[in-house]
Amino acid sequence: MTDLATLPPSGALQAQQKRVRRRAPVDWTGFAFLIGLAVVILLPLVVTAVWAFAEVWRFPAILPQRVGLGYWQETLSRQDVWQALWLSLRITTTVTVISAVICFPAAYAFARLDFPGRNMLFLAFLSVQAFPKFGLIIATATIFLTLNLIGTFWGVVLIQLVGTLLYMIWIPVSAFQGVDRRLEEAARDVGAGPMRVFWSITLPQALPTLAAAILITFVNTFYETDAAWLIGLPNVRTMPMVMIAFINNALEVQYGAVLFVFLWVPSFLLMLAARRVMGADAFAKGLGG
């Protein structure tokens, strides 16, 4: 037998829900993690950003005694800063484009084709990241020395290409594997040949994740310093190398802080825009999520 409960009076349900909401427990652990992350990640960024505008900031003052754009004018009026920026953009764009041309077809092959030695070759591509990076660069540098590639634009491009393999193979392999085969079969079914299926169906379906791989590669290459320093010097000076030189050689920390903000803001805005256009799931899919 079923007991029938009497209905509560009108409005009682909302009041009950409000009481339940008020009683919801506070997630103190999550809150502590949030504060911890904010302190570890955001605080150094905020402090550096404040330094970029601080003309006078002496201990023990919490805030700068004088702020202004003096260091910005001084830094951005330097010819070598703009030369380094332009060079960095050229190198980064070249590396990303070449990497995409080489890696995307390879990723498609790893994702879709079954050929002898497939797994070994895939591991070989990714194993580059398993070795200490500095050792790899030194070994490469000795080869480049005989090929006259040290201190050249193409020397830096080639060494930085190696560093892009992980993202430009691994993420696109996931992207191509994630495209439902039935979508491609449906296209063939209405008359599309294999090439048309790739251009009209597979590529657009994988594109958000491929774009995420390109973006990550672009940003990583732009900020790369080890390889660029060992292979590029003395002729090739990228933007991060100029920034390091500023921080190491200048007495005032503000020069480095200005370049930090100068480099950080565009890439941050780029990431935000990409995330908005591509959606967070593109990044997650690329990493197997």
């Binding site: 449906a186 063939r188 079914d189 209405v190 008359g191 599309a192 048309r196 379906q205």
Partner: protein, 357 residues
């Protein structure tokens, strides 16, 4: 005319045989259902017709033209997939127009044909929407429209309504049948739902373990199953293991007249059993009553504990644990290596003899 002829078609994946050599002719304008449990080979057979798999043996001809080695894009077929397989980066119009653009038709004709097919599937005005903005049923209609718009000779449907709820499935099933008959298109429909197969087909092909078990009209397959598998698979059926001896079959404590000797399987439909007053050798114990609204099924056990389902009138009420008598009206006996024998109680003659006397 759009006839499909399968001759000696077989398919093996490595050492696993998915389809054993089979012959089948699907006539022009016919809707044939491939029915079977998971792993029976029905989807493999459909994919072979569509060109997504190549047969290990045999040939496939459409309208007399051998298409066995042709890729899907060169076959006069179109498939509606279970998962809809709509391209999420294209609008509804883009999805449907894709096949027409590949055929390089004039833009005005493409627009006109897309609108016409959208109207046919009841989605006029939905052309600008993205697939993600449609419900499951609407997405399946778009998938159907995409296949129909290229005017294929053969429409292939791979469990197209499996992901939809019962109510919507029945509605779309009727709509597909209506459209198929209106266009006079030949269709092959894969399903594991016997109700769906019985409701929609001109003929049913029952498959099990990669072998064709029976081909026939829905009523024929239901009434005269040729194998014990078909008997058990199509509709509700009590399947009892028994022994033939002395002019009767004994199964689960139940004895019924039957010819032959040796082990056999006794098949009785729940609706072919009537409840009666208790009588020796024809008694069951009621376990529970299942009310289906239109009728009632009594789940009962025979003397040795074997389950027996009895379909009866709604007015009949029996209690769990009650012992009641049964009267079997019709039954079929399947003996290894022999044709099935059908009987009915009033004559105790072969059902076929009665029917075609």
């Amino acid at each position: 005319m759009a006839q499909v002829r399968l001759s000696g078609i077989a398919k093996a994946f490595g050492k696993v045989t998915a389809l054993d050599a089979m012959d089948l002719v699907i006539e022009d304008g016919e809707l044939v259902c491939l029915l079977g449990p998971s792993g029976s080979g029905k989807s493999t057979l459909l994919r072979l017709i569509g060109g997504f798999e190549t047969p290990s043996e045999g040939t496939i001809a459409i309208d007399g033209v051998d298409v066995t080695r042709l890729p899907p894009e060169r076959r006069p077929t179109a498939m509606v997939f279970q998962s809809h397989a709509l391209w999420s980066h294209m609008t509804v119009h883009g999805n449907i127009a894709f096949g027409l653009k590949l055929r390089r038709l004039p833009r005005a004709e493409i627009r006109e044909r897309v609108e016409r097919v959208l109207d046919l599937v009841g989605l006029s005005g939905y052309g600008a929407r993205l697939p993600s903005q449609l419900s499951g049923g609407q997405q399946q209609r778009v998938a159907l429209a995409r296949s129909l718009v290229i005017e294929p000779k053969i429409l292939l449907l791979d469990e197209p309504f499996a992901s939809l709820d019962q109510h919507l499935r029945e509605r779309l099933r009727d709509e597909v049948r209506d459209i198929q008959q209106r266009l006079g298109i030949t269709a092959v429909f894969v399903t594991h739902g016997q109700d769906e197969a019985l409701a929609i087909s001109d003929r049913i092909v029952v498959l099990a373990d990669g072998r064709m078990q029976q081909v026939g009209r829905p009523g024929e397959i239901y009434a005269e199953p040729k194998t014990a598998f078909v008997a058990g698979f199509i509709g509700a059926m009590n399947m009892l293991d028994g022994t033939l001896a002395d002019g009767e079959i004994a199964a689960g404590g139940l004895k019924l007249p039957a010819e032959g000797s040796g082990p056999a399987r006794l098949a009785i439909r729940p609706e072919d059993i009537a409840l009666s007053e208790p009588e020796e050798g024809r008694m069951v114990t009621v376990r529970r009553m299942i009310d289906f609204g239109s009728h009632v099924v009594v789940d009962s056990t025979l003397a040795d504990g074997t389950h027996l389902r009895v379909q009866t009138d709604k007015a009949v009420r029996v209690e769990a644990g009650e012992r009641v008598g049964i009267r079997v009206e019709r039954w079929t006996v399947f003996a290894e290596g022999e044709e099935p024998r059908r009987y009915r109680s009033d004559t105790v003659r072969s059902f076929r003899d009665v029917r075609y006397a």
